[in-house]
Symmetry: C2
């Protein structure tokens, strides 16, 4: 069961400049940074609010570090902007299977590692009315209580 | 102070088909529907979760009802997908003024009416690293306690 908007993934060309914009304009602070070699990005998570399933909602700012990464290709085509949205669930395995059974293409055979040791998968945007959609189960126990 | 992700605005060509997708694939339910003549759209709000500022996070599905509306033009250029993101605040007037003072273009001189009698304004996407960004103060008192 998808119980929250976990994050909005935003592709940018310069992570520091984009973090600086969100800090300066809105006062948002960096909660976590990491490099995800598998996804070919470095990223900053800005925590915006807590959610009533015990989780949080974040902005995820993504800068490609490899020219052949999916985010780099997306940026070259679209420019900076919203790259994907992510729903939080306590059971990314079960939910992705159930969604696949409804005819939506799930991009990974098995969930992979996402931000902050979460487990994630993606749904094909053409099956989701144009929206690249991620499902995420947080590594934080408090995010999985429901 | 921006205290939550209030909603993600998603442009679609067929509101009923898109509502049906979100219901069928994820179990999300329609919380509210309305026509906003000023914005030239009809819309469905799907409530996803509550937030720790006393508000909620929604998906806002938008179908243009006028060919010259901003959403219709956006759809013609981009196809279906994420149109904007919105942050909730108890004080859209004060926050939009403070953000304008930081050099970000605010698209309305005064906030206008948004979904569910909220008061909204938009920030220019070119000043926000490509993201059309809305600020919203809910009409529901519980959303304004912080």
């Amino acid at each position: 069961m998808l119980t929250r908007i976990d994050h909005i993934g935003i592709a940018c060309r310069d992570l520091e400049a984009t973090v600086d914009f969100y800090s300066r304009a809105y006062g948002f602070e960096v909660f976590h940074t990491e490099v995800n070699q598998e996804q070919g990005v470095r990223e900053a998570m800005l925590r915006i609010n807590g959610t009533d399933d015990g989780g949080s909602s974040y902005l995820q700012l993504l800068e490609p570090i490899q020219e052949d990464s999916a985010v780099a290709k997306w940026l070259a085509k679209n420019g900076e902007g919203v790259h994907h949205i992510a729903f939080g669930t306590a059971d990314v395995d079960g939910d992705s299977e159930a969604i696949r059974d409804k005819g939506v293409r799930v991009l990974y055979d098995e969930p992979r590692r996402g931000s902050m040791d979460s487990r994630i998968t993606f749904l094909h945007p053409k099956d989701c009315h144009g929206v690249l959609t991620e499902l995420v189960t947080s590594a934080t126990p408090g995010d999985q209580e429901r």
